[in-house]
């Protein structure tokens, strides 16, 4: 259990960083929409069109790091597997 929790913790953090990086390493807050600029040839106005697009930001990274730290912390509540005592322990 200890190893499983720590593995999930690392995987979570690595996945979050990879996702954030691949999405453009956005340094601001997470965005759920984006602007696509279009051009109206008659009026010569460039105007924004809002599209649904999730872009993770630094708050997303912080949340993932927090969740990862919680998992790693919880793992300490699970003891090591009982193994053979070290050689000479009973002598």
């Amino acid at each position: 259990m200890r190893l499983l929790l720590r593995s999930i913790s690392v995987m979570l953090l690595v996945t979050a960083i990879a996702w954030w990086w691949k999405a453009g390493a956005h340094p601001g807050w997470t965005k759920t929409t984006d602007k696509v600029w279009k051009y109206d040839e008659i009026t010569e106005i460039s105007y924004p069109e809002t599209v649904e697009r999730f872009t993770p930001g630094v708050d997303f990274l912080a949340s993932a790091a927090f969740a990862s730290a919680i998992l790693a912390g919880v793992s300490f509540f699970f003891g090591r597997k009982a193994g053979y005592p070290p050689l000479g322990a009973n002598s």
Partner: protein, 204 residues
């Protein structure tokens, strides 16, 4: 003042074919009309757009200083890309969109009208109303009149003229009681606003 304006304005009227006062409706089914706003604070830059623009302006080419009308932006149409930030922005501490659903600019007059490259530039004098506070402001604007272009825009369904107005100006959110307690290193007091809108005047 009138003496210097009249030749320019008459030229505008003759060049564009507008002689009588015309009312332009800025209701925009194409979604082109929009306002941009930016708050550039040392720690954070917040920017967004609004597209709920409507209103009417009546322009008299022979007397442009008497231009009047109102441009309205639906408060709820203000959009930033982070949903939590948007919720806060429209909430009671900030814009209070439920109690104050409209942001309006009531145009009272134009001054310093000049013509350049077929466009008229002027200082627009009017009342800006935001979150229940009215403030007299003067903002620079350019106006392009596009005679007969409404037909092109509507695919021939309607005939008439278009007017395109652009303006950029700065407001202080503290002047309008928009969360004056918010730290200015995170949320700038100065709000840079720019507007690009097109209005239609159908032929009757």
């Amino acid at each position: 003042m009138k003496a210097t304006l009249l030749p320019i304005v008459s030229a505008l009227g003759i060049a564009t074919g507008f002689a009588a006062p015309q009312t332009f409706d800025f209701k925009d089914p194409k979604g082109v009309n929009h306002a941009k706003f930016t708050l550039d604070a040392p720690l954070e830059t917040i920017s967004g757009v609004a597209n709920g623009v409507s209103g009417t302006l009546t322009v008299d080419p022979e007397k442009p200083e008497a231009t009047s009308g109102t441009i309205t932006v639906d408060t709820a149409s203000l959009h930033v890309e982070n949903p939590v930030m948007k919720e806060h922005m429209l909430g009671s501490d900030w814009l209070d969109a439920t109690k104050h659903p409209k942001i309006t600019f009531t145009v009272k007059s134009l001054k310093d009208v000049k013509m350049s490259d077929g466009k008229a530039s002027a200082t627009v004098v009017g009342t800006f109303s935001l979150k229940g506070v009215d403030k007299e402001i003067s903002v620079p604007a350019t106006v392009s009149l596009l005679p007969g272009k409404l037909g092109d825009r509507t695919g021939g369904k309607m005939q008439g003229d278009l007017a395109v107005i652009r303006t950029s100006f700065t407001l202080k959110r503290s002047d309008f009681g928009i969360n004056p307690k918010a730290p200015e290193d995170k949320v700038s007091d100065e709000v840079a606003v720019s507007l690009a809108i097109a209005g239609a005047s159908p032929k009757k």
